[in-house]
Amino acid sequence: MAAHEHFSLPPGTAAKPGRGPRIRQWLSQSVVYIILVVAGILCLAPFYFLISGALMDRGEMFKVPPRLWPAAPIWENFRTIFTDYHFLTYLRNSVIISTLQTLGVLFFCSLAGFVFAKRRFPGRNVLFILVLITSAMPSGQTTIIPFYLLMVKFNWVDTFWPLIVPWWAPPLSIFLMRQYISAGIPDDLIEASRLDGTGLFGTYWRVVIPLSIPGLVVIGVMQFISVWNEFLYGLLILRSDNMRTVTVAITELSRRTQAATVYGPLFAGIVIVTIPTIALYFIFQRRLTSGLLSGAVRG
């Protein structure tokens, strides 16, 4: 790994070996490690408080001065959040929405990416530029109100559809799939499959898909994580309690008037919410990091 990484800020002494001030080199390296260790601790600290809070009872959480770790961990909280606060329903809702949205994104984006990468047809460049332009438009959060009204018209409020269907073809994923297929699959393979008399969809299904699995994994995992954590549209659309996703549910719980009484189980719930995305990240870490390092910047 280190072998092909570059000097970005070569430490003054490293470039000129043998020149006395080893102390200075040691000192500057220690400063770097100190900064990174402090940053690492700051990145982890909220997780510590999260887990610690998930194991406290109400009185303990609001003690003055605050306790940093429960005297006796209350594992009960992890059961209470399921038994008393329908957490299984919220988890199920989140799983359904995240899975269906991710599968749609993988299908539609790889299909469009394949056609943009490997097929020639009139208007291709103009249409592709249109895709790129829309990805740069500041929409998203600014269109929540008309989006909501449209969903009222469709009778889609309080259903999962508004959180699944509209997001099936994000321009950025089309762009990334196009880059991936264009660079990763030789034209000859496509041509050969076409000459065998396979239709365009057959070629996509039997040649392109099997060869794009690594790219699909990166996009799929990123998509799943972002839907799982999505909040604003869930809040907007999911009005009744048993339709809520986990992110909306924990927020509503935390905003209750007597929220203080539920903080223990609530924190246990947040721990459960964060586990799937962190697990996904660790499972696919190598692929995600290299995909983001090369794919995101170089396109």
């Binding site: 490293a14 690492g40 408080f49 097929r119 020639r120 990805s135 321009p171 935390s254 983001l292």
Partner: protein, 339 residues
């Protein structure tokens, strides 16, 4: 930011591919096919006619259909709504520019935009500077445990923003908050983080930085690793100092990445929602209220009557402000030789 996770935001990444912005390391593959050629230069296509390509059009159609229904149509509709007075139930009446006039004069609008400015002056500089620092540090050749540090910094990015937001609310809570507890040990505080108009920024700013730093740092790392080693070798042979190499070579080559960070963090700040919604609910007395939160409140009617016209007008004012600022940032950060 609302990208919530940043991964979620409708990204502007591809825009960097345009040669105008000058991210040369980012190339659209097979550039030949990307050049727009005159129809005459493609006789093969013309002969077969457009209908022969219906498969291709069908396969790319989902994007255009979904975009038209769920984004273009609502935007057009909300333009009309912004000239009407409507509560969502009774008949709408045409009021011309009244909504815009009202929203622009409304003290709450002024409040949400000054709040946005306060977020902006803290979060945008840090959103460019911190990832640059950590990207450079994580790329140092002598560094050990590189993967571990990278993982630690990236971990917040995949974590639920609202989930951690609730933790933040307790961390910064008043007398019994953990932060105040820790500060008390060194003889400071207690501070009323969530109730003080100025201090209430701190939890929101810190949560935003915590949750976005990892992704941005990874972008910087990618940019640094794309720089050709030979350039550094040549500079070193010429006897350039480490500082000069960084200042004269690395930094200029990183310009496109920094422009990208500048613009994404600007858009993130201007559409911030989850952090104030969860931590402060916009309080104390609207001091942390954000434009999107305000839009949500008046458009959905969670604070008083539903004012769809005002919400639509506000969304257009916000979008216009965003476009103006982002375009200005593009022009200002453009290379001199391109002007």
């Amino acid at each position: 930011m609302e990208h919530r996770s940043p991964l979620a935001s409708r990204n502007i990444l591809p825009l960097l591919a345009s040669p105008r912005t000058g991210l040369h390391s980012m190339q659209i593959t097979r550039p030949k096919s990307f050049v727009m050629t005159k129809p005459d230069s493609r006789p093969r296509i013309r002969r077969r006619g457009i209908l022969a390509y219906w498969h291709e059009y069908l396969f790319i159609s989902p994007f255009f259909i979904l975009f038209a229904i769920f984004f273009a149509y609502p935007i057009a509709w909300s333009l009309i709504l912004s000239f009407q007075k409507w509560d969502g139930v009774t008949a709408a009446t045409w009021v011309g520019l009244d909504n815009y006039r009202f929203v622009l004069r409304d003290p709450i609008t002024r409040k949400v935009f000054t709040n946005t400015f306060r977020y902006f002056i803290v979060l945008v500089p840090l959103g460019v500077f911190l990832p640059l620092v950590f990207g450079v540090l994580l790329n140092l050749p002598f560094l050990r445990f590189r993967g571990l540090f990278r993982t630690l910094i990236f971990l917040p990015t995949v974590t639920s923003l609202v989930g951690v937001g609730i933790v933040w609310k307790l961390l910064f809570g008043s007398a019994n908050g953990w932060i105040n507890g820790i500060l008390a040990k060194v003889g400071m505080g207690p501070y009323n983080w969530l109730k003080d108009p100025w201090l209430a920024q701190v939890p929101i700013d810190s949560l935003t930085i915590w949750s976005t730093l990892g992704f941005a740092t990874l972008i910087v790392l990618g940019g640094l690793q794309a720089i050709d080693e030979d350039i550094y070798d040549a500079a070193r042979i010429d006897g350039a100092s480490a500082f000069n190499i960084f200042w004269k070579i690395t930094l200029p080559l990183m310009r496109p990445v920094m422009v990208f960070l500048l613009i994404t963090s600007t858009i993130g700040v201007m559409t911030i929602f989850s952090q104030p919604y969860v931590i402060t609910k916009g309080g104390p007395s609207n001091e942390t209220l954000s434009p999107v939160m305000h839009m949500y409140n008046i458009g959905i009617g969670s604070s008083g009557a539903t004012r769809i016209g005002d919400a639509s007008a506000l969304s257009f004012i916000l979008s216009a402000a965003m476009i103006v600022i982002v375009v200005a940032q593009f022009l200002i950060t453009r290379r001199k030789e391109e002007i």
